[in-house]
Symmetry: C2
Subunit: 199 residues, 2 copies
DNA sequence: AACGAACTGGCAGCTACTGTCAATAAGGCA
DNA sequence: TGCCTTATTGACAGTAGCTGCCAGTTCGTT
């Protein structure tokens, strides 16, 4: 059962808005483009923009498929093997044109703004935060104490994942992203195990 | 050489605004209090509020002493002993009434909003982000590779530090904060060293 | 006391964001 | 196909966060 017309229209609009917005941002800079302009250039009303994305930064955190009921990457987490999960998650990035169906690579066009615009960055942190909350719950279910679960989840997402992504971006995205993640995880292991305070 | 009159005035105003704001927030909730109200209740103009704090969320990330040229906790980081540094940082929290001179505990009155208001939380993440950048540089100076330095710095601040703080808060701040930090660091060590993917 | 610099307040204005309601388009059904 | 119901959109008005600008005041200094 494919998507209904309504769902397709909505998905089209979302993608159109995202692309248009990135075009405008690339052209004139993030803060010099207003929602009104994005909406006009995409053929929707500002009100509709907000219905879809919630905020201007939502452009960078919204999952188009979630908007039609299909969450993309959730439940793909194996709490017993976080390094492996991380590896699998990042495998989707960087290689090939896009994430899941559609071949859309909007998120990677937008990465620049995630790194450079504080407000966008903050929004992404908010999203990571929610993800960390979910992961914490999973780890608790897997037997970790609440405190341990929380610290592990946050370190993986904010430290190993985002940290690697950032360094990868800073280095011009030449070396494979996976290298950075492996590097980072190894560093954490050294640091926590080897350091003088082994606590 | 004590503070000049101007510096004292400014510092007084900052503290007065912070206290007043927290009073109002506790009374009616964060989002139902406007800057205009805070300013009026503190006896300053809204324009001045923005000069001091930059944003509404700045109330939670501003360091009053920095406003008069005295940064408080910077340069207290020993990149060779992060667990120890963390321990020292948190030693200032929770015990006793306040941070540094003045016996002010505004930040701990505000913790509730840091945890519960997404926008405040996001602002704190922004501040952590900057701190992480500084720590990353220190670790690089100490010989770590950029990628490793970045991941370690971020894991410590977003994972071990903020994660412990959050769990401590969620548990009602009964057990000492240090326990949470130690717990978390130990968990990280187990996780990265012990797991099947030792990568 | 007088001068220059720092600081404050008031005003005007922009833009992000929300509630509400009428208009419209899609889906289901006879 | 034509009609009815319901989801979705657009227009309007309004709130509040935030900034630039300038005039007036306060403070530090000589």
């Amino acid at each position: 059962m494919p998507l209904t017309l309504r769902q397709r229209n909505r998905l089209d609009a979302i993608h159109r808005i995202m692309d248009t917005a990135m075009d405008l941002f690339d052209e004139r800079g993030y803060s010099d483009v207003t929602i009104e302009e994005i909406a006009a250039a995409s053929g929707v009303s500002p009100r509709t923009f907000y219905r879809y994305f919630g905020t201007k930064e939502g452009l960078f955190t919204a999952d188009p498929l979630a908007a039609v009921g299909l969450g993309s990457y959730s439940g793909q987490i194996d709490p017993g093997d976080l390094p492996g999960t991380l590896e699998r998650l990042i495998a989707r990035i960087g290689e090939g044109p896009g994430v899941s169906e559609g071949g859309r690579r909007t998120s990677w066009r937008g990465m620049r703004y995630v790194m450079e615009e504080p407000s966008v960055r903050a929004a992404v942190y908010g999203a990571l935060d929610e993800e960390a909350e979910r992961l914490t719950a999973l780890l608790r279910d897997a037997g970790e104490s609440p405190a341990r679960a929380r610290v592990i989840a946050r370190s993986y997402l904010f430290g190993a994942y985002f940290g690697a992504l950032e360094q990868w971006h800073l280095d011009g995205r030449s070396r494979p992203l996976g290298d950075y993640v492996r590097d980072g995880l190894a560093a954490l292991a050294d640091q926590t195990a080897g350091g003088r305070g082994q606590a």
